[in-house]
Amino acid sequence: MNIIAIFKGLATTFGYMFRRKATIDYPFVKRAHASRFHGLHELRRYEDGMERCIGCELCQIACPANAITVIGAENTPEDRHSPGERYAFRYEIDELRCIFCGMCEEACPTDAITLTPRFEMANYTRNSLIYDKSKLLVPAEYGVGEAPHERPGGLPADLGEVARIKSTMEPERGYLATWRGIDILTSEGKTYMPTPAGGELVREPEKLKGGE
């Protein structure tokens, strides 16, 4: 038995007690995502409130997990949903099947379906995780939605129905967690930013936009 090795080991563990801990106090402090994080989907609108989705079903075809179901229908002058000829009569995504690869986003010719940075969607039933248009489409009062490239490092201007469902939690905790950005809200109200070097940068949280 190597006694010196034992003492070295004891010294190591003792030293580790005083190091900075790797734990992130999750529901209270949230880890930053990569800036192109793929989370929950959102169906966007045009500035005039029209749906961007034209019901072309390209996302459904592109989806490797067969998670998307689109049933298109003709627009009529009395019942116009999108600027084109057709619109998505039904648009459903099974979030349990979805692998969040973002190929629907790439396939979409009108930038209608986008992946938001929101990721906390746990629920109790499978049915509740099949998101239909009522959950996916940005409600008109929340704006039009933003494509990923339009929101570098910030909170999306709209919060969408998906986010509105999530807003039942405390907004200044919930929304920040799903930023595309790099900041995390701590329980002290500061933001904590892990840097690649392992250091930390603490600054005041930015004013939230949108939402309740």
Binding site: M1, I6, G9, L10, T12, T13, F14, Y16, M17, R19, R20, K21, A22, T23, D25
Partner: protein, 330 residues
């Protein structure tokens, strides 16, 4: 006022107070273990229940109480149910004689027995019955293996442990625990009995079945060792017994080698003495946790070889040298 009470009532009150203190101490030793281990592994440990997780033991106790108490159909029902109580009972009984400080009318203990150290060793060696009966009565192979190991390990290490302590008894020329502490008024026995101290510390870890000598539980080999089949409160009792044994051996180490409650300015100040005692015990408890956070488990044959071929000869040598020195110079 205290003298006016009948003796049995006095002892009952003392026992109750001590029981509450020891159980609380057990709960917070467990929490401290989880916290310290977590800190050594760059985690934060339990921190959700109460400030810094201070109410975690209460939550754990509630969980234990409300869990289902299963008895396997192949188990021997009576002994299976009895074993945890044997473990806890023997673990707690040692506190009947352990003194914690020196008051005006004698040491602070439930009973000031003149053969205290013998009593403690007699009682703690009964603790192995709880473990071996639990493993045997579970009627399943892993608990049986665990308890066979426990029996072999505890018997082999108890020899070396007792040998190492006899050195102290020789030097103090008393078996009373408070007498041993008084005998250390000039010099703590850790200095003249350093080898004995080392042997005691190592064997105490083995006696309490703690890492790196936790062959009895050995999660990676034996599922959970002797208490694999136990659940709910009965499992909790084994848990309590293990930690109380840990506190007992820490108390003994403090009394035998670190001068018990003695420290700067402690004579005539029982509370200060108690504080010194508690600090020393906590240092030992921390050492146990520290060991657990550092060392991997020994292989079984090495454990036995270490006990019989290293510790026992060393303890015997220590005893012989002590005996010769005491005979010639004291």
């Amino acid at each position: 006022m205290i003298e006016a009470l009948p003796l049995w009532l006095l002892v009952a009150i003392k026992s109750l107070v001590l029981l509450i203190i020891v159980i609380t101490l057990f709960a917070y030793t467990m929490l401290a273990e989880r916290k310290v281990l977590a800190y050594m592994q760059l985690r934060v440990g339990p921190n959700k229940v109460g400030p810094w997780g201070l109410l975690q033991p209460a939550a754990d106790a509630l969980k234990m109480i409300f869990k289902e108490d299963l008895t396997p159909s192949s188990a021997d029902p009576l002994i299976y149910r009895l074993a945890p109580f044997i473990a806890v009972f023997t673990a707690l009984l040692a506190y009947a004689v352990i003194p914690f400080s020196q008051g005006e009318h004698g040491p602070w203990s439930i009973a000031n027995v003149n053969a205290g150290i013998l009593f403690v060793f007699a009682i703690t060696s009964m603790g192995v019955y709880g473990i071996s009966l639990a493993g045997w009565a579970s009627g399943s192979k892993y608990p049986l293996l665990g308890s066979v190991r426990a029996t072999a390990q505890m018997i082999s290490y108890e020899l070396a442990m007792t040998m190492s302590v006899i050195g102290v008894i020789l030097q103090a020329s008393t078996t009373s625990l408070s007498g041993i502490v008084e005998a250390q008024s000039r010099m703590w026995f850790i200095v003249p009995q350093f080898l004995g101290f080392l042997i005691y510390i190592i064997t105490a870890v083995a006696e309490t079945n703690r890492v790196p000598f936790d062959l009895v539980e050995a999660e990676s080999e034996l599922v959970a060792g002797f208490h694999t089949e136990y659940s709910g409160l009965r499992f909790g009792l084994f848990f309590i017994a293990e930690y109380i044994n840990m506190i007992t051996v820490s108390c003994l180490a403090t009394l035998l080698f670190l001068g018990g409650w003695s420290g700067p300015g402690s004579s005539g100040h029982p509370l200060l003495g108690l504080l010194y005692f508690v600090i020393k015990v906590f240092a030992f408890l921390f050492f146990y946790i520290w060991l657990r956070g550092t060392l991997p488990r020994l292989r079984y044959d090495r454990l036995m070889a270490f006990g019989w071929k290293v510790l026992l000869p060393l303890a015997t040598l220590n005893l012989l040298v002590t005996a010769i020195v005491v005979a010639l110079w004291y």
